[in-house]
Amino acid sequence: MQLLFFLCGFVAVAFVLVITGYLVLSGLPAIRQVGLFRFLLGTTWDSANQTNPQYGILPFILTSIYGTAGAILIGVPVGFMTAMFLAKAAPPRLAALVRPAVDLLAGIPSVVYGMVGMVVLLPAIRNLFHLPAGDTLLAAILVLAVMILPSIISVSETALRAVPREYEEASLALGATEMETYFRVTAPAAKSGITAAVVLGVGRAIGEAMAIMMVAGNAANLPGLLKSVKFLTTAVASEMSYAADGSLQKMALFSIGLVLFLFIMMINVLLNWVLKREKE
């Protein structure tokens, strides 16, 4: 019996090994064929070109970094402030109303965000900036910012609540106002939990595919706020269904997957490190 349970437990490890194995084994051939530097630092991706296909993924890497940074820049302040509101400033009854709303926001499927973005954001951006089409990095950033909001709020709220009440009482007793206490005592004390929230948000944003595929335009440009762009995730997603099996194009998609996997693993290690430090 024990052996059976051990096998169940080992399945999680086996899954990680299988995923790593598949991504590495299927990702390497194209990188070897194209050349590591030309693959990672090439600025043109033109996989559909019959005579002279180009496989440079620098535009995707930069877009993923810019897009994630933008989403964090918008999502983290709003999320952190909302978390502070829920944990400290809100009347309990109001907090009890807002919290389920945040949970609901977390549960809405990503394609729904993508669709609303398509219908609402794209025309707005097109009209505002007089563009031929609204499918831009900006639209993707806005959608991502909304999508990472719930996880940032709930993780930072937990962190803020975990700060011992005595810290705040001491600060209040010394004559600090409530807000001074929350922002200069509570927030620094919850620093590592809030960092964890940010790192989690980065992970979410960099890994999201379907929602931003619907609003980012999917042209392999170097990133610009008002340009149609492709992320690492959408580069895989948008060509996955029509690339021929065994072609260099399909193998290159797996290589992009491998690059994305490495990014995610770095973020995971960082997250684990932050959480471990918090425990201590």
């Binding site: 598949y22 909302t82 499927p109």
Partner: protein, 306 residues
């Protein structure tokens, strides 16, 4: 005269306490009010976002809903749309995924809390489970495609998608089950063992029944993720809009492909530029999400009450 001075002497501190500000410099008062209003603003923005999102989807989607839309398959001949296949496929995927992930997840959690003795091993398994939960769905889609569609030869099929989703949801089930196993008092275990029960008998009759709430919560959370997932279902499960073979003849269990609700929505909105039915599907998804959230909350409350 004297009366009034006494009065002010008494009321002034009270007023001071009420505003709490008279002792503050102007800068500090500004800091306080400024940040307080920022907090309210941010929370208001978050709520407004949600309300606007839901309101807009309902406004666009509800008029498009009809019994026919929900209860038939799309018919080119009659020119009607229907999402019955998508609903059925979603149900199929949820059931098959849980059938795979639940035993594995609960087993793993039991091993971690009841059996495991090597500290290193527990850490390894927990690290693996955390890693799994951090991997984005598009990578699961890639691996699912390679491992199940190609290597196992399942092709685009809901079974392959369910197996991929089982990998994806394993960590959720492990974590919630583990948490609730830890709430079963140690004395129960000792009591059972002391009465001469074997370890497996003790787990089966005492520990698992006592932690059923956590297992249920884990399942509900997993269902929520499965219903909301799209990348895996699109690239591993396929996007056929007709009624799944599985429901016609269950022996086609292995090779049946098809679109679930999220994939159907994606196909409507992005591939076919049909926004109205897409919004109708979104309403269905919202209702499901809302129901799953309520169920998870109810199960979580029961868990905490223990």
């Amino acid at each position: 005269m004297e009366g009034t001075t006494v009065l002010t002497a008494q009321t002034a501190p009270a007023a001071e306490r009420r505003t709490g500000a008279s002792a503050l410099s102007r800068g500090r008062r500004l800091y306080d009010t400024g940040l307080r209003s920022l907090l309210w603003l941010s929370a208001g923005l978050t709520c407004a976002l949600l309300l606007a999102l839901i309101g807009y989807i309902l406004w666009r989607g509800v008029p498009q809903l009809s019994w026919e839309f929900l209860s038939t398959a799309e018919s080119v001949r009659r020119g009607t749309l229907g999402i019955l296949p998508a609903l059925a496929n979603t149900l199929y995927v949820v059931v098959v995924t849980l059938a795979i992930a639940l035993p594995l997840g609960v087993g793993a959690a039991v091993y971690l809390t009841e059996y495991a003795e090597h500290h290193r091993l527990v850490e390894g398994i927990e690290f693996a489970s955390e890693t799994l939960s951090g991997i984005p769905s598009i990578l699961y889609a890639l691996v699912g495609y390679l491992a199940f569609c190609k290597t196992l030869g399942l092709g685009y099929s809901l079974l392959a998608a369910s197996m991929t989703l089982a990998m994806m949801n394993l960590p959720t089930i492990i974590r919630t089950t583990q948490e609730s196993l830890k709430t079963v008092p140690q004395s129960y275990r000792e009591g059972a063992l002391g009465l001469g029960s074997g370890k497996w008998h003790m787990i089966r009759t005492v520990v698992l029944p006592g932690s059923i709430d956590g297992i249920v919560t884990g399942c509900i959370l997993a269902v929520g993720r499965i219903v909301g997932e799209s990348a895996v279902l699109l690239y591993v499960g396929g996007m056929g809009g007709s009624m799944n073979h599985f429901f016609a003849s269950p022996d086609k269990f292995i090779h049946s492909s098809g679109a679930t609700l999220t994939v159907q929505l994606y196909v409507f909105a992005k591939e076919r530029a049909m926004m109205d039915p897409a919004f109708a599907v979104a309403v269905v998804l919202l209702v499901l999400t809302f129901g799953i959230n309520l169920a998870a909350k109810a199960a979580g409350k029961r868990l905490r009450q223990k």
